[in-house]
């Protein structure tokens, strides 16, 4: 009994350490500049001093742009990469066609490469395409993922061929087979991969930092980083904290919506190397 209580006490302390930065962030977003540095969490004796001003400041400023840009780019990226990966994965899992083996081999050959090695060559290409400071440079190369296509191929291998044949006899086009048979059968994987894809684009930094130059086109990570060191925000960090809080919320909401798929995807081994 005592061991059981000790175990839970230990877990509570550890969990507190894990969530303290979040609690601090939430508190900081509602504090006035003078309270931000003065009180560690909330100014308990002066709760009336808490303010929504930090959030109001987000409506104008460049923040509103950055938030919309981030939502737009991450959503479009997720839709594109999930669609193209599941289509490609379906072709590689359920069809035999000339050229399939070379595609698989070249693809697997690139999976260990770090994306950073592409950056100089891609930058040069974007320069010649006149895509510097254009969202095309972020959207188009990001529309495919070798990891994603392999993930979908692996899980679509389990779709029974008989089911597809039945569909064909019933007069379904191949596109219908993909949409009505293959996709529903890998539903949990789609949930897990959607979260991963959205998360990756939402948090992406290196490439947008290189490509985006006009402040109005920044995404949240690029924008917030550009404010972090500025002296005028040193005393007004509450705005940055409010913006960070708003930046974390969409991802948290998406996680809650998809968490069942995500955890089952992790433990079923779908994402295991």
């Amino acid at each position: 009994m005592i061991r059981r209580i000790a175990l839970h006490l230990l877990l509570i302390v550890l969990a507190a350490v894990a969530v303290v930065p979040f609690i601090w962030l939430i508190c900081a977003a509602f504090k006035t500049p003078q309270d931000l540095l003065g009180s560690t969490l909330l100014p308990w004796r002066h709760l009336d001093r808490l303010t929504l001003n930090n959030f109001r400041a987000l409506r104008d400023q460049p923040f509103a742009h950055w938030l919309i840009n981030s939502i737009f780019l991450s959503s479009l990226h997720t839709v594109l990469v999930v669609t193209l990966s599941s289509m490609g994965g379906f072709a590689l899992a359920k069809y035999e066609f000339p050229g399939k083996r070379p595609i698989m081999i070249i693809m697997l050959g690139t999976i260990l490469l770090p994306s950073q090695v592409l950056v100089p060559g891609s930058y040069e290409l974007m320069y010649h395409l006149h895509w510097i400071d254009s969202y095309l440079a972020i959207i188009v190369p990001g529309a495919i993922s070798v990891f994603g296509i392999i993930l979908f191929r692996q899980s679509m291998l389990n779709v029974p061929d008989e089911l597809l044949q039945c569909g064909r006899l019933d007069g379904c086009s191949e596109l219908r087979l993909w949409w009505d048979i293959a996709l529903p059968s890998v539903r949990p994987m789609i949930g897990a991969y959607t979260l991963l894809a959205f998360l990756a684009e939402w948090n992406s930094f290196l490439w947008p930092q290189i490509i985006l130059q006009n402040e109005a086109k920044y995404t949240l990570p690029i924008g917030l980083n550009s404010l972090t060191g500025l002296p005028e925000y040193q005393h007004n960090y509450g705005i940055v904290m409010a913006a960070t809080l708003v930046s974390i919320l969409p991802v948290a909401l998406l996680f809650f919506a998809l968490q069942k798929d995500f955890i089952s995807g992790l433990s079923s081994g779908a994402v295991k190397g």
Partner: protein, 300 residues
């Protein structure tokens, strides 16, 4: 008849239609830039327009003479080793605690530990920039523990720059590792423990002879992912230290690639740094194959 032919055609063409967007983008925006990066690494460039062939000299200079690259390499390697040495036991420890039969609210605890992983490195950097500040929460707590006011210059002292990055990244990644270990622990056959208990094996023996072998593939995986992530470290120190940090003590390989390519403007030199990173990561994967003899499940 006509309809029949169309039908056959769409069945034949379907796989090509499904895979062609992937193949086109893959060739134009992945294979081509990759080969260009290799080409550029043998050149000196000033922006994307002026390119001069220099042979192996980028690589020779990087490995032989460039002290900043040496520092970046050392920093990144030291960070990776320290990160793994701390993250693996912490994640595994948490997973073992949570895997105990007696734990209530397991999902709630699991989420509390895991939640930090949802926050991107940049946002973690922005938050910890303030937490590590002179009047930040961390100095407050240290002062309370010490009994008098202490201001530790976490981000401005050369010796503390990298440890600060390490603390922030452990906050970010420990729960993530725990989720993987917990999944592996729950897959170990409980009958093995029952049999061991009947044979009189203690907790320690059970851990060494049942738990550890049972989670070995997952252990290998988490170590490899951590090592690869460690060598690619960039955003967290870049935001937290607002660049390379005091005396460039927070510089990493990828940060140096970024600075050389896009502040100095030498895409050729940046490419050479990129290919050295490739070499390091391939070496790590080879070591893993040798030591863990663990074949990936991906493949034909």
């Amino acid at each position: 008849m006509n309809r029949d032919r169309w039908w056959k055609l769409q069945t034949r063409a379907a796989p090509y239609l499904f895979i062609s967007p992937f193949v086109v983008i893959f060739c134009v925006f992945l294979l081509y830039p990759l080969s260009r990066s290799l080409f550029l690494s043998f050149h000196k460039t000033v922006g994307p327009r002026h390119i001069v062939f220099v042979g192996w000299s980028n690589y020779r200079f990087l490995l032989g003479h460039d002290l900043v690259f040496g520092l970046a390499l050392l920093n990144t390697a030291a960070y990776t080793v320290a990160f793994l040495a701390l993250q693996i036991p912490m994640s595994l420890g948490l997973a073992l605690l949570l895997n105990s039969r007696h734990v209530r609210f397991r999902n709630l605890f699991r989420f509390s530990f895991f939640s930090s992983y949802l926050v991107g490195q940049v946002f973690v950097g922005v938050i910890f920039f303030q937490l590590f500040g002179p009047d930040g929460l961390i100095n407050h707590i240290v002062s309370i523990l010490a009994g008098h006011r202490i201001v530790i210059p976490w981000l401005s002292s050369p010796n503390l720059a990298m440890p600060s990055v390490l603390i922030a990244s452990l906050w970010l990644a420990t729960g993530y590792g725990m989720v993987y270990f917990l999944a592996a622990l729950q897959a170990v056959d409980p009958e093995l423990y029952e049999a061991a208990e009947m044979d009189g094996a203690g907790t320690r023996a059970q851990f060494l002879h049942i738990t550890l072998p049972g989670i070995r593939p997952m252990l290998a995986y988490v170590v490899l992912v951590g090592a690869i992530g460690g060598f690619q470290l960039f955003e967290l120190p870049f935001v937290l230290l607002q660049g390379a940090g005091p005396d460039a003590r927070g510089i990493t390989i990828v940060m140096y690639l970024f600075l050389m390519g896009f502040s100095t403007g030498d895409l050729g030199y940046a490419s050479a740094i990129g290919w050295l990173l490739v070499a390091i990561l391939l070496l790590l994967s080879l070591i893993r194959f040798r030591f863990f003899r663990f074949r990936p499940e991906i493949g034909t």
